[in-house]
């Protein structure tokens, strides 16, 4: 087939709307997030003292942390969905890292040394390690399907970042259930819970995001 004939077929394939990676991913997160919210509502539910929790700085800081993580992962994920190789992702992660360090420093300064370990271990670690991957399942699935329409320079990195984004979204939901608000707990167990999701994303990316 001659190339000008081939081009005619491409030109005839019009479409109505443009779906840049950001729009695709936002839609995917919304759909997957709704499924996870339904699981949250049916099986977990918010903590009973939610109204009181909003007035404590530790709970508010926890929410800010997970939301900053969602924003950072979203930006990185939409960069990685494009064919042009991304530079360092560090600048995108910097706000999250700075906030995490500040949170830990404040917590350590405020708590007596004896209670550090108790705060770190908390009371919900096992629930946290199960619930975050569970809530991440639907967002990750929809995200990977959406990213199949993009052109990631590196399918593995793109899949891993989709996993990180799904885990951050899951953490944002789980944060409303969990009683452990200490930054020591959040910054230990939430990232640990995200690891299997990131690994699953990288595996899925390697298989499904090649183009």
């Amino acid at each position: 087939m001659k190339t000008d004939q081939f081009v005619a077929a491409l030109v005839a394939d019009r479409k109505g709307s443009v779906w840049p990676p950001g729009r695709l991913m936002a839609t995917a997160i919304a759909i997957g997030g709704l499924v996870s919210l339904a699981i949250f509502a049916l099986e977990f539910g918010p903590r009973v003292d939610l109204a009181a929790a909003f007035r404590t700085w530790r709970f508010d800081l926890k929410l800010v942390l997970v939301l900053v993580a969602v924003v950072a992962a979203f930006g990185a994920c939409s960069t990685l969905a494009r064919p042009v190789r991304a530079g360092s992702l560090l600048p995108r992660m910097l706000p999250l890292i700075v906030l995490a360090v500040v949170a830990v420093v404040i917590e350590l300064a405020m708590l007596p040394r004896a209670s550090w370990a108790t705060r770190l271990i908390g009371s919900n670690a096992l629930v946290c390690l199960t619930a975050i991957p569970l809530f991440a399942l639907a967002p990750l699935t929809v995200l990977i399907l959406a990213l199949r329409r993009t052109a990631p320079a590196s399918p593995i990195r793109s899949g891993a970042m989709a996993g990180a984004l799904a885990a951050a979204a899951a953490a944002a939901i789980y944060a409303f259930h969990c009683f452990d608000d200490s930054p020591l707990f959040v910054l230990t167990w939430y990232p640990l819970a995200a690891l299997p999701v990131i690994a699953a994303g990288a595996l899925a990316g390697n298989r499904l995001l090649r183009w």
């Binding site: 087939m1 005839a12 064919p83 052109a151």
Partner: protein, 172 residues
């Protein structure tokens, strides 16, 4: 590309033909540099054009178009050479300044697209052939096959996605 996003078919065709000429130059030079025959360069050009078409939403309008085109060309070229056993690093930055090659030359038309099309479902194949080989509009093809123009476009899009998947399978 901006005009193409607004539905200007003539502008999109001009862009794709220009990119094809540019790609042809890069592809020939890369194949030659890797010590490969240039016979299948037109197949690589068409596969790359198809990828650019299907992935066109990943171009960020606030960024220049060329780095995006170059990234896709590089991705497809590296993929092609790697699967044929060439693992050397391909640096198309060096090649982008080379003269673009015109289409009317001894290498001739690509073979893969016709062959891979044959593996598509009957209806998809006939629509792609009607639009490309016979130069018909989606409306004309629809009239011939007894389908609405909208249904023809939907099937055409599926056919192109299937074709891209067939290229990937073919290479692996």
């Amino acid at each position: 590309m901006r005009a193409a996003r607004l539905g200007d078919d003539a502008a999109y065709r001009r862009l794709l033909m220009q990119v094809a000429t540019w790609l042809r130059g890069i592809t020939r030079r890369s194949l030659a540099a890797a010590g490969r025959r240039v016979d299948d360069s037109e197949d690589i050009v068409q596969e790359t054009l198809l990828a650019m078409h299907l992935k066109r939403d990943t171009w960020d309008e606030t960024q220049p178009l060329e780095p995006w085109l170059r990234a896709i060309a590089r991705h497809k070229l590296v993929d092609h050479l790697r699967r044929r056993g060439v693992t050397d690093h391909v640096d198309i930055e060096d090649l982008s300044e080379t003269l673009a090659a015109p289409a009317n030359d001894p290498v001739g038309p690509a073979a893969d697209a016709r062959r891979l099309l044959a593996g598509l479902p009957e209806r998809q194949r006939r629509i792609v052939e009607g639009v490309s080989l016979d130069g018909q509009s989606a409306q004309e093809v629809g009239a011939r096959l007894g389908m609405s123009e909208g249904a023809v476009r939907v099937t055409l899009h599926r056919a192109l996605k299937a074709l891209a998947a067939a290229y990937r399978r073919d290479r692996s």
